[in-house]
Structure formats: structure tokens, C-alpha cells
């Protein structure tokens, strides 16, 4: 194959506060599968969003079939022959396969839908992938894997020359994965350019002809898959010069177990999760996107339903079983989406910080809140956490991310729970705020709390953890000690043995 069918040249894209793509270039050839690999935040999705017309690049060019093209919207992308199979499928559960596929492109005869034609086209499209589904089947009666097939079939309707798959196997059974790979094989034979985004290296090695690795918005390496090893890719993902980076931290005094989780499971999402947390310890729950880490935290807090498992917490000196919906009485949780689940945005800092501790703040004046006491407490923790605000009545929606996060920490600090669950505590924060939060985590541990910290940033989690639990596809696949290196962590998360 001489000419690349797709060229992306020097694509740059920044968002407020961060440069997501610093000038990425690559080429893709027809009939080839190009794997796009990288850790979270490396820029893979942004890059594909540029190609898919979802995001507009600041600089750079896209060349398709030798022509320079402008892709300003998903419609433009489609017109240029680009199809994008997203990770979350766009499905209409109560409608049929035929309806879902043709909802905006029904063939019509005198204003009415020509269902005979529609169904024929539907069957043809599905058959192209090797399926014989009845086009009248309702989407909700299909498994996620089958639904994905429908999504792919729909993507293929426009006969795209380029098709992008974003983490396509996150909820597929192994049989369905094989099926997907067959489909991709066929697409190759038809000469389509396939771009396959994944962090699961075994898949990349199985299906891709060529791979490029992104890190921090730059291409750091790549080449024909035949010439690469797992280690090569892992190194590229992490960055060899940082392997030996060392985060200083005092070794901590670790005490008794305060929480034990056994066999926690939720069908299809997490399986057989068992671990324990000890006083004064920070356990880092690490894994890449889709591994189920947040789901574990939410299951423990009773925010999501569970199908089984036991949670035990040390209450009054004894380990006692606790129902997930009650667990929040002893656990302070920082969710990963502070705006949606962590804060009452239009309310003041004071309001947000006292939210969990109202009983204590009413003191003698129950059921009314002792305003003086409240102000006192709030100010105390604002100072302690060094939250920068103009006044305690300031609306939290106007605070910076770091300060918002501190407000939530302050909310729990007042209650002084045994256990903290922190999900992506430094997501979206600038360097200074990240450092602040890291310090807070360390301080909390030193004062005896038990913390489970979830993070998708490896430096983050390495700088605070006393040990690691690594998750992949809903299971805990490894437990690593504090001395584990970045490589080991990355390899474990990527499913490499």
C-alpha cells in the first residue's frame, strides 16, 4: 500500500487550562487496522473527536484520499466518509432494529415509510457483518454485544472509508469479541481504514497492524505491531524517563482493619471484590477506564444496587456487617463528579460544608441550627484547608476546582469519619491544587483515617498509596506493594501478565 488514505497532520488542541494535543501526526492506510494506544488523558479520544467532527482543532490538517478536508461537525465527518462507533451506544430500547438504524433515513414512498425496503436494507446491512437478526427485533431484547453490532451496522450504512472504534470491547463476552474481530477483519478486506482505540494491549496485538502510542498529547512512538512488544508499548505509555521518579512520603503507622469488603458483586459490572482497609492506610485503587473502580466505591456507599457481598466496618471496636445504604454513616465520600454529586452548586460555602454535620451543629438549639457554632466550625476548616474564598457566603459554583474539592473535604472533616473514599480527587485541578489535595490525603492518613483513593493518573496514585489494588474489567487482578514501579502498575492494569 503506497498512499496513506488518511493523514492527520500536526493536530493541536487546547482546552482551558490544558493542552490536550500538542501536534499529533499519523498516517493510516486502507485495509489496515491502526491501534491508538495511551493512558487516560493521553489525548486519544480528543484526537478522534477531531476526526469525527465533534471537536474543532486549533491547528492542523486532515487529509483524506489526498484531499485536504474541513471537518466541522459530525455531519461533515459523515460526508467525508468517517464513521465513529462510540463507546456508549446510541440505542432506542423500545424500537426495532430497523427503526433504530434508519430513524433519520427511512426510504419513503409517497410520504410513508417503505418498510419492505427498509427491512431489506436492514437485513443487508446486518448480513454484511454476518448476522441474520430479524429486523423487527426490539433493541431491548438484544444483548449489549448484539446492540453494538447494530451500531456498527448503522455506522456502515453510509459506506464509510474510515471507521473509528472507541474502546469497543468494554462490555462484550469473549464470543462477542471474536465476532467483532471477524467483522473488523472483513472491513480490512474491503479496504476500509479502521482505527481502534484501546488500552487493552492484548487486543491491540491481536487485531491491529500498526499502533501508535500517545502520551500527554504527543505521539511518542509506534510502528508495525509485529515489531513491538508489550514492554515497548508500556514504556511508551508511561515514559521511560519517569520510571524511577520517587515520591517522598513518610512511612505511616498502620493500625487495625477498619473496613472489610468480601465478595462484592454486581452482575456484569464488578465481580468478587474483596479487600480490607486499615487505620492510617491509603490504598490506591488503580486501573484504566472501564475497569469498574468507581462502581466499587458506589456499590459500597449504596448508591448503586448490588447482587451480593458483605461489607464490615469496625463499629465500637468490633467488625460488624453493614448494609451498603448505611455504610455512609461511617464513610466520607468524594465522588468523581463534584459538580453533579459533590456540591450544591447554587448554595454557599457555609451551606455546603455543614451539610453532613447538621446534627452536631445544632447543639443545644435543636432542631434549629446554632448559627454562631456553624460559622465557627466552617471558618475553622476553611483555615485548616486553606480554602481561598472571599467569604463563607460565597457560592461554591464560583470557586475554582481545587477549592471546591476542599470544601467537600471540609464537609467530611467536620464529621471525622473512620473511612474516606475518594474518587479522582484531583481531576480537573491545577498543579498547586493537586499538591494541596495530596497533602490533605497524607495528613488524613497520618491522623488515623483509612482511605481508599481511586485515580486514573499514575503519578497521583503513586504519591499517596501505601499499597495498590489493580482492577481490570470488574475484577481486582493484582495487589501490589508500595514499592511497585510504574511499569508494573501499568502492566497490571493493561491486563498484561
Amino acid at each position: 500500500m503506497a498512499e496513506p488514505f488518511l493523514k492527520m497532520v500536526d493536530i493541536k488542541k487546547s482546552f482551558p487550562g490544558v493542552q490536550a494535543l500538542k501536534g499529533v501526526s499519523f498516517e493510516a492506510y486502507p485495509g489496515q487496522v491502526l491501534g491508538l494506544v495511551g493512558a487516560n488523558g493521553a489525548g486519544k479520544s480528543t484526537l478522534m473527536n477531531v476526526l469525527g467532527g465533534v471537536v474543532h482543532p486549533d491547528e492542523g490538517q486532515i487529509v483524506i484520499d489526498g484531499q485536504l478536508v474541513m471537518i466541522n461537525s459530525p455531519l461533515d465527518a459523515a460526508r467525508n466518509g468517517v464513521a465513529f462507533v462510540h463507546q456508549d451506544l446510541a440505542m432506542l430500547p423500545t424500537m426495532s432494529i430497523a427503526d433504530t438504524m434508519f430513524i433519520t433515513s427511512f426510504p419513503t414512498k409517497t410520504g410513508l415509510i417503505d418498510y419492505k425496503e427498509t427491512k431489506e436494507r436492514c437485513v443487508r446491512a446486518l448480513r454484511r457483518l454476518g448476522f441474520n437478526f430479524d429486523p423487527d427485533t426490539k433493541i431491548r431484547n438484544l444483548s449489549p454485544g448484539d446492540q453494538q453490532m447494530v451500531e456498527i451496522a448503522r455506522a456502515l450504512l453510509s459506506n464509510p472509508r474510515i471507521i473509528i472504534f472507541d474502546e469497543p470491547t468494554s462490555s462484550l463476552t469473549s464470543r462477542e469479541k471474536e465476532r467483532l474481530f471477524d467483522v473488523i477483519d472483513n472491513l480490512k478486506k474491503e479496504g476500509t481504514v479502521v482505527i481502534y482505540i484501546s488500552h487493552l494491549l492484548d487486543e491491540v496485538f491481536k487485531i491491529c497492524d500498526y499502533a501508535i502510542v500517545l502520551r500527554n498529547g504527543e505521539t511518542v512512538g509506534g510502528g508495525p505491531v509485529k515489531g513491538l512488544t508489550y514492554d515497548d508499548i508500556v514504556r511508551l505509555m508511561i515514559g521511560s524517563k519517569q520510571i524511577n521518579q520517587y515520591y517522598s512520603r513518610q512511612s505511616r503507622q498502620i493500625g487495625d482493619t477498619v473496613m472489610q469488603v468480601e465478595g462484592l458483586r454486581r452482575k456484569g459490572i464488578i465481580e468478587e471484590i474483596s479487600f480490607s482497609l486499615r487505620k492510617g492506610e491509603v490504598v490506591g485503587l488503580w486501573g484504566l477506564l472501564g475497569s469498574g473502580r468507581t462502581e466499587v466505591a458506589r456499590a459500597i456507599m449504596g448508591l448503586d444496587p448490588t447482587d451480593g457481598g458483605v461489607i464490615r466496618i469496625r463499629i465500637n471496636g468490633k467488625m460488624q456487617p453493614v448494609r451498603p445504604s448505611d455504610a455512609k454513616n461511617w464513610i466520607g465520600m468524594l465522588t468523581e463528579n463534584r459538580r453533579e454529586e459533590g456540591l450544591l452548586l447554587p448554595m454557599s460555602v457555609k451551606y455546603n460544608m455543614s451539610l453532613a454535620n447538621l446534627y452536631a451543629l445544632s447543639g443545644k438549639r435543636f432542631p434549629f441550627i446554632d448559627r454562631k457554632l456553624e460559622n465557627q466550625q466552617v471558618k475553622k476548616y476553611i483555615n485548616r484547608l486553606e480554602i481561598k474564598i472571599s467569604g463563607i457566603e460565597q457560592k461554591v459554583s464560583t470557586l475554582s476546582g481545587g477549592n471546591q474539592q476542599k470544601v467537600i473535604v471540609g464537609r467530611w472533616l467536620q464529621k471525622n469519619p473512620l473511612i474516606y473514599l475518594m474518587d479522582e480527587p484531583t481531576r480537573g485541578l491545577d498543579v498547586g491544587a493537586k499538591a494541596d489535595i495530596r497533602n490533605i490525603i497524607n495528613e488524613l492518613a497520618e491522623s488515623g483515617a483509612a482511605l481508599l483513593v481511586i485515580s486514573s493518573e499514575i503519578e497521583e496514585i503513586m504519591s499517596v498509596s501505601d499499597r495498590y489494588l489493580v482492577m481490570n474489567r470488574g475484577h481486582i487482578v493484582a495487589e501490589l506493594p508500595a514499592e511497585a514501579t510504574k511499569e508494573e502498575l501499568m502492566a497490571a492494569a493493561a491486563g498484561v501478565r
Binding site: 482546552f15 482551558p16 487550562g17 490544558v18 490536550a20 489525548g43 479520544s45 480528543t46 473527536n49 471537536v55 463507546q87 456508549d88 446510541a90 440505542m91 432506542l92 430500547p93 423500545t94 424500537m95 427503526d99 433504530t100 430513524i103 433519520t104 427511512f106 419513503t108 410520504g111 410513508l112 415509510i113 454476518g130 441474520n132 437478526f133 423487527d136 427485533t137 426490539k138 431484547n141 472507541d166 474502546e167 462490555s171 465476532r179 471477524d182 498529547g217 456484569g268 477506564l289 472501564g290 469498574g292 473502580r293 462502581e295 468523581e336 459538580r339 453533579e340 476546582g401 474518587d423 479522582e424 481531576r427 485541578l429 498543579v431 493537586k434 486514573s456 493518573e457 474489567r473 470488574g474
Partner: protein, 346 residues
């Protein structure tokens, strides 16, 4: 290599109950009333029931579209009153020809629907509040126009309302034709299909390229239009329009739809046979209550009870419906930040 699976739509108990649940209830009801009142189960009764239910069939067929997009329109009762008031005034007071009056009635309905559509889609007001406001405003307008008096139609038109052909009332036939047309629109036009798509999820529909605002707007117009169409049948049947015309209609319409399988959560249901079954069931219950000599005032209470039970069942159904859950990324769920656009540091 190539999988040869042929997935047939499996017989699903849930889907069955969804569509035919209340048919079972209907049968039970008919049996009960037949036992309680001997003349109940006769052809005559059946025809009378359909005759009385005809306007409601028409009304519900339009409202269905709004409900399928997971919204509500509680102004339909007032639209019925306003439209028939305008029509009656045109005919009896202004002595305008009947066909012209019909045209104006339909326009009134469409216009009212357009106002609702505008308020919900453009002004982005909660549909409940929007149609609550319209409900009251339009009723007030109609009361003003009629001065809260009964307006009768001239004699020749009054008989028109109860004309039979071969023993079957004409308006039953008209209602059936309307239902057939509405069913066609629902099942065989892109608009109808997109209405259902929106009921499955506005954001998903938007992602698929559906023009959500446009479809929502026209659903409201259709609802208003059908409300006014039904008012024509009602006007002819009763031969007059009175100040409490259409009051409580929205309840009956909603009950008809929910009983007939149209879920208030959107994205479910059929016009045929849904509305026929729902409207028929409701009407049978009313007729039955009549036959066994129950007080006239018992009906609103029974109807309210039916609505409550129907909505309860509806809510339960939704809980049981399996939503597709994927092990997906842990991005915040709303507002939706597209993957890759999270602010992560360099």
C-alpha cells in the same frame, strides 16, 4: 466464522402484559357488569358505548403523540371547549355555513397546539406548567366568548350527530377512520417514528440526528388539532356546547392512553389497538356504572381510581424494564463532557 444465528423476537411475558394487560381487565369488567345487569352485554349496548366513546378516541389519538415523547398536555379539555364554543357561535349566532365552521374549529385547535409547542420548545417551560397555563387561559377565553351560557346548534345539525348507517352511528365510523390515519402516521411516517425515538431519550435521539425540537413542536400541534376534531364530534352528539364541556377530558384521555398501553414515560404504546382498548374499557366502565344504577357522581371517583392504578402499574413497568448498562468510562454523567475533553493537566 460467520455466525448464522437467527434471533427471533422471543415471546416475552412482559411485552405481552404491556400490550394486553388491560384486555384481561376489560374482560373481567364486562363479565362483572353482565352479571349485575342483564341487558348489558348486547349489541345495542356495544354500539352505544362506541358512539359515546368516539370523540374520546379522536382526542386520545392526538394526545398520544405528546405523551409518547414523554411529555404531558393537560390543556386538551379546554381546547375542546374553546373549539366547540367558537364553532357553535359561528353556526348559531353568526349563521355561517357548517363546513366553514369545521375549518375554523380545526384551526383553533392547531393554533392552541402551536402555542403549547412554542411555550415548551422555544421558551423551554416545563410542559406541565405550560399546558396548565393554557388549560386555564383557554377555558377562560371560551367562557368569556360564551358568557358561560349554553349554545345550541340549529335543529338540522343536531340530528346529524346521531345519524346511523345500517345501525351503526356515523361518528363511530369517522372515529375509526381517524384512528386508522393516526395509526398510520404513528407507525409509517418518519415523524411518528421519531416521536417514539424521543420518548426513548431526547439526547440519544438528538445524537442520532433527529430534529427533536421540530418533532416536539408538531406533536403539540397534532394534539391540539385532534382535540378540536374531537370537539366537532362531541358538539354534534350533544347538539350544544355547555360551560363544563371538556372538563375532566384530560383525565379521561390520559386514562385511556395509559390503560391502552401508552406509557407516560414515553417511547411505548400503540394507537391501534391501544386507544381502542383503553377508550373502550373506560367507556364500558362508565356505561356499566350507569346500568347498575350507580350515582352519576360515582364516575369521576372511579375514573380517578383507575388512573391512579394505571399510573402505578405504569411506574412499576418502568422499573422492570431493563436498561442497557455498559461497563463504560467513568465520565461525569451530566453535563456530558465528551471523552477527551476533561481538563487534565499536561
Amino acid at each position: 466464522m460467520l455466525s448464522k444465528e437467527k434471533t427471533q423476537s422471543p415471546f416475552n411475558l412482559r411485552d405481552f402484559l404491556f400490550t394486553y394487560g388491560f384486555l384481561i381487565v376489560l374482560v373481567a369488567v364486562v363479565i362483572y357488569f353482565s352479571a349485575a345487569a342483564p341487558n348489558f352485554f348486547s349489541l345495542n349496548t356495544l354500539i352505544l358505548v362506541l358512539h359515546t366513546a368516539a370523540p374520546m378516541f379522536v382526542l386520545a389519538s392526538g394526545l398520544a403523540f405528546v405523551i409518547m415523547t414523554a411529555k404531558l398536555d393537560i390543556s386538551v379539555g379546554s381546547i375542546v371547549y374553546l373549539a366547540s364554543a367558537v364553532g357553535a357561535i359561528m353556526i348559531s349566532r353568526m349563521h355561517l355555513p357548517f363546513p366553514l365552521a369545521i375549518l375554523v374549529i380545526l384551526m383553533v385547535g392547531a393554533l392552541a397546539g402551536a402555542i403549547n409547542g412554542f411555550t415548551v420548545v422555544v421558551l423551554k417551560v416545563n410542559p406541565l406548567i405550560a399546558t396548565l397555563g393554557t388549560m386555564m387561559a383557554l377555558r377562560g377565553l371560551a367562557l368569556q366568548l360564551t358568557n358561560s351560557m349554553v349554545i345550541s346548534l340549529p335543529q338540522n345539525l343536531r340530528t346529524l350527530g346521531n345519524v346511523r348507517i345500517g345501525g351503526i352511528y356515523v361518528d363511530i365510523i369517522i372515529a375509526l377512520v381517524v384512528l386508522l390515519i393516526m395509526n398510520l402516521v404513528h407507525t409509517r411516517t418518519p415523524f411518528g417514528r421519531q416521536v417514539m425515538a424521543i420518548g426513548n431519550g431526547s439526547e440519544v435521539a438528538e445524537r442520532l440526528g433527529v430534529k427533536v425540537n421540530w418533532v416536539n413542536f408538531w406533536a403539540f400541534v397534532l394534539s391540539g388539532l385532534m382535540a378540536s376534531a374531537s370537539s366537532i364530534l362531541l358538539l354534534l352528539q350533544l347538539g350544544a356546547v355547555s360551560p363544563d364541556a371538556g372538563s375532566g377530558y384530560e383525565f379521561s384521555a390520559i386514562a385511556t392512553l395509559v390503560i391502552g398501553g401508552v406509557s407516560l414515560f414515553g417511547g411505548e404504546g400503540t394507537i391501534i389497538p391501544g386507544i381502542i382498548m383503553g377508550g373502550f374499557t373506560l367507556q364500558v366502565i362508565q356505561a356499566g356504572l350507569n346500568y347498575i344504577g350507580a350515582s352519576v357522581y360515582a364516575y369521576p371517583f372511579v375514573r380517578g381510581g383507575i388512573i391512579f392504578v394505571a399510573m402505578f402499574a405504569d411506574a412499576l413497568k418502568v422499573k422492570v424494564k431493563p436498561r442497557v448498562k455498559m461497563i463504560t468510562d467513568e465520565e461525569p454523567s451530566l453535563p456530558k463532557v465528551p471523552p477527551g475533553n476533561e481538563i487534565t493537566p499536561a
